[in-house]
């Protein structure tokens, strides 16, 4: 049977992650619906009649979702918890990735497994992306504070920009700390000594 015959419901409060998963599943030929709104979820599930439901593991509404599966009048077909009970490794991989999936009872594991695999890989990709974004953000902030520290040294000690940076780097190496930490200490100290200086806690 074509994978397109399976109907996947994605529940995720994080729009970006939901879009990433949706794209992956659509490209693989599945029919995908994304739901962000939890209100009226039972009715939506009854309308959509999904074969598979993918939800982020941390979603506080999972208890509600699982309770909906118990109410036979709310759904047309019984839904089993979690894909592939027998396969502990896949459950572990899913929990590690932060994804949880539910399938309609009786659906063959072979048909569902690619969906879970896809969801796991997309969740992992999203986590990597978030981590990289976070790193880029802190990198940018580090650069700003180093620039300010350089400026302070250039003004107070009449150093060139290169010499100011070299001094920061040498100090960091001697103290076995990061340049950004030395720079932050300098900016903080300068603001304490000179109340007119910009507040180091304010990120410009």
């Amino acid at each position: 049977m074509q994978p397109g015959a399976l109907n996947v419901l994605v529940i995720d409060e994080n729009r970006i992650r939901a879009a990433i998963i949706e794209e992956g599943l659509r490209d693989a030929g599945y029919a995908v619906t994304v739901v962000e709104e939890m209100q009226g979820l039972a009715r939506r599930i009854a309308e959509l009649n999904p074969d598979v439901i993918v939800i982020d593991l941390e979603n506080p509404n999972r208890d509600m979702l699982e309770s909906i599966f118990q109410l036979t009048r709310a759904i047309q077909r019984p839904i089993a918890m979690f894909v592939d009970k027998s396969d502990e490794a896949s459950i572990e991989a899913a929990v590690e990735a932060g994804v949880s999936a539910y399938i309609v009872d009786g659906l063959k594991q072979e048909r569902v497994r690619p969906i879970l695999k896809m969801a796991i890989s997309r969740f992992n990709a999203f986590s990597r992306l978030s981590r990289e974004l976070e790193e880029t953000r802190s990198e940018l902030e580090n650069r700003k504070v180093i620039d300010r520290a350089k400026g302070l040294l250039m003004r107070s000690r009449g150093l060139s920009e290169e010499a100011a940076y070299a001094l920061l780097r040498r100090t960091a190496m001697n103290q076995n700390r990061k340049i950004a930490e030395i720079a932050q200490s300098l900016v903080t100290a300068a603001s304490l000594l000179d109340p007119g200086a910009p507040d180091p806690g304010v990120k410009t």
Binding site: L57, P60, N61, M64, E66, Q70
Partner: protein, 403 residues
Amino acid sequence: MTMRHAITAGFVPLLDSALLVAAKEKGFAAAQSIDLTLVRERSWASIRDRLAVRQFDVAHILGPMPIACNLGLSAPAPKMIVPMALGLGGNAVTVSAALWRAMAEAGATADLDARENGAALRRVIDRRVGEPLRFGVVHPYSGHNYELRYWLAASGIDPDREIDILVLPPPDMGDALAEGLIDGYCAGEPWNTFGVLKRGAHLATVKAAIWKSSPEKVLGVDAGWGEANPEALAALLVALHHASLWCGDSRNHAELASLLALPAYVGREPDLLLPALTGVLPVGGGAVRTVGDFFVPQAKAATFPWKSHALWFYTQMVRWRQVAHTEANRQVAAKTYRPDVYRAALKALGIAMPSASAKVEGALTAETPVGSSGALTLGPDGFFDGGRFDPDDVDGYIAAQSR
């Protein structure tokens, strides 16, 4: 100092995570050479999943959930044991301002009396036209679901036909109530106090009024981990026992409320946490009532994992058609709670412990000394309707409730 045991415990940000939080923050775990890591989760499903894949060794969990897991009602279903309870009571039934007005007109009072206010709710439903009232609970396999249903049924209200009961995350309940999505809810603290103080809600009754000294959260232990690490488990039970003594001492309530208020734990202001600890509850409309034994973290064998509690939860699973009643299922429920593990771990402390593993629930109408030492008192443990549950007659109880 090198710790002998590393234990990871999951918890949900609720007041009754107190014993675990105190064990870590007040050094009771470290004193037993336990490096205790507490991991906060936002759903019970998540707690269950992480237990199943062994990311957690133990967890703060709803009393009926380990039984549901062992009965295979929930998947992935980690095999679990319950060697300790994490206190008694602590829940309440909160209703919207509109429903409270209707109940008050029908005779409800601010005294939280389960019988009177249940009768008032019955009269409100009689007069009501249109959609049934909607009540939120935290989980299908929860003390909340069962005590709410017990209260309704004993008040002559059919919880399946006359009330729409749905599951909601506790932090959303106050808002759902204020927005008119639900008319009431049964939840743990601080979410009833939050509803009353921040969302104009009113307490209808409390768990302690429906069933005094009744079971709530427990320590759920991954059975495999417990078997492989008996020393670590025993050390944890000792640490939690010391934590329960600390939590139960009224002189520590203010500090405990501040600890729980930390962002890593419940993350709500101490003012929302203190009422459950003192039992002095804002009930709505500026009124305050003092509820004896509202939440009991230590006294009255509050941490003892009674098999009769497990069996009562089981009877309610049967009553509300979550599981079929068979002798095999009854045994699974009874064997989930492990007073033997509790006794073995705490024996060396020389404290007074119940010698029986089960008791007739609802039999004690007053505080009663038990055991030879006289250091332990139990009860009262009555149901508001005078009901009794004899754990030796599960069949009879189930039959009587199915009528």
